[in-house]
């Protein structure tokens, strides 16, 4: 089978990355190649095969509900691009 067509604009929007026209063209072609290569997976018979999400599955890995100290406000905001009143500043969010 041939690879599905990539809607690069839609994907860039979902991924929140601006792409230049040049990038769009190049990526679409390169990803097309990759998808053609990947397409050979379709020939594998996977009937009745469970998907592997973890290499070695174990269950119920948790911690008890005991609070521990976190970061100070200074540490929390030390890498912030913009801050005011101990909060992160972003352009006004509507919705």
């Amino acid at each position: 089978m041939s690879a599905d067509k990539i809607d690069i604009n839609h994907l860039a929007k979902l991924a929140r990355i601006n792409l230049t026209e040049q990038e769009k063209e190049r990526f679409a072609a390169q990803l097309g190649d990759v998808l053609n290569y990947i397409a050979e997976l379709k020939e594998v018979d996977v009937t009745g095969i469970e998907p592997t999400a973890h290499a070695s599955p174990v269950y119920n890995v948790w911690a008890e509900d005991i609070a521990k100290p976190g970061l100070s406000v200074t540490e929390a905001l030390q890498n912030a691009p913009a801050q005011r009143d101990n909060m992160i500043v972003v352009p006004k969010v509507v919705e």
Binding site: N86, M87, P91
Partner: protein, 482 residues
Amino acid sequence: MNDYEVVIGLEVHVQVKANSKMFTRVKTGFGHPENTLTDPVVLALPGVLPVMNHAALDAIIKSGLLLSCDIAPYCKWDRKNYFYPDSPKNYQITQYDKPICLRGNVEIELPGSARNVMGEHKLIPLTRIHLEEDVGKLNHAAFDSLIDYNRAGTPLMEIVTDPAMQSADEAFAFLTALKTVMVYGGISDCDMEKGQMRCDANISIRPKGQEQLGTKVELKNLNSISYVRDGISHEILRQLSLVKSGGKIVQETRDYDGQTGTSQSLRTKEDAHDYRYFPDPDLMPVKVDEAWKARLKAECPEMPFDKQRRFMKEYDIPYTITSVLIPDKSLSDYFEATAKLCGQAHAAGNWIANDLLREIGKSGESIDQCKIKPNHLAALIKLITAGTISTTAAREVFSEMASTGELPEKIVERKGLTASASSDDLETWCKDSIASDPKALAEFKAGKDSAINAFKGPVMKAAKGKANPKLVDETLRRLLAL
């Protein structure tokens, strides 16, 4: 528009009461200074990993058991991918196709025909309950927005109902009942003011008799208990008048503004998100076995409506009193303890529903903080019944107990409130009282028994409340019979 019926489904988010967050161990809390409840995991710094909170899992399984859900033997975590500044990872860890609780129901009570009449009860079926993490909070300033991540990562349950409610009243009753169950189970305080319970509603209308559901509108931000009723009513009217004027309902998400009582469209189906759910590779799945369920089952309290029915039957107290006691688990437990100690459920119910609630309302304390404990109140009721103190004196003892926490016997003794007037004094006061009211005397002699009460007031007044009412009655009758 009686030829249309309304269909409502709710999605209710309930914050789980926990010490630490869903996937990291920094503290949870409300009202703390901004960004003081964070750690590298909450802020989604590069390289961090989630570790689930055992207590939060306990809480959701317990909720499922309380609401008769099927508890899945296996569930897993998925990432819901979307960009929003209150979501630090730009994905939310949630449960997509394998939620931990399936089906189940919530028993609700609709408003009765009068305040003292129990309303109709219904079971509202649930679709599912799953566990996820809360987001941070955006504060909007004039020209920009400020983000506080204190709330981010708080354990959050999403409770989804079937489209099974037919009015704003039912939705309101659902939330009230759900809140009571959550509080009973110790799962959440469900304080909507603190965002511990939040509600979105899916609302549609259809011609009566039509099987297929109408186009649904999702109403968001019903963030106070009254907004739920107002918002849903408003949306129903909007849809009905739209259809009536020949318009067409479009599938969309609307934002309800409780202050103005209006709503506006946020997005339509066309710009629906593609969340690209997939299993979170950083977390292991959860397996729930019988032993785990049994442990939590043992912790489950009696359900509120079951308790109410039992109170009415076992203690024979009126619906009005139970409807005051039941919504507050501590209060209903308080009642039951008092009633058992003094053996007088009616008196206990009345004292609690009136005097005790007034007292804690005044002091702003919770029932658990109140210095009057069930054994205090039970002892007080016993003193009244035994005629040791008058009702007037009892009220004085009651307020004294509230401030000192002493046992009533002690206060009675300390303040000399015993109905302990000497029989000589009593005899004199009774004689004086009869002599001073010839009119009542004539009536009594003429056969009107209740006229005797007219003599009691002056006696009690002369005794400064310390006369034993029983003894006063006896003395008066003896003198009048002479």
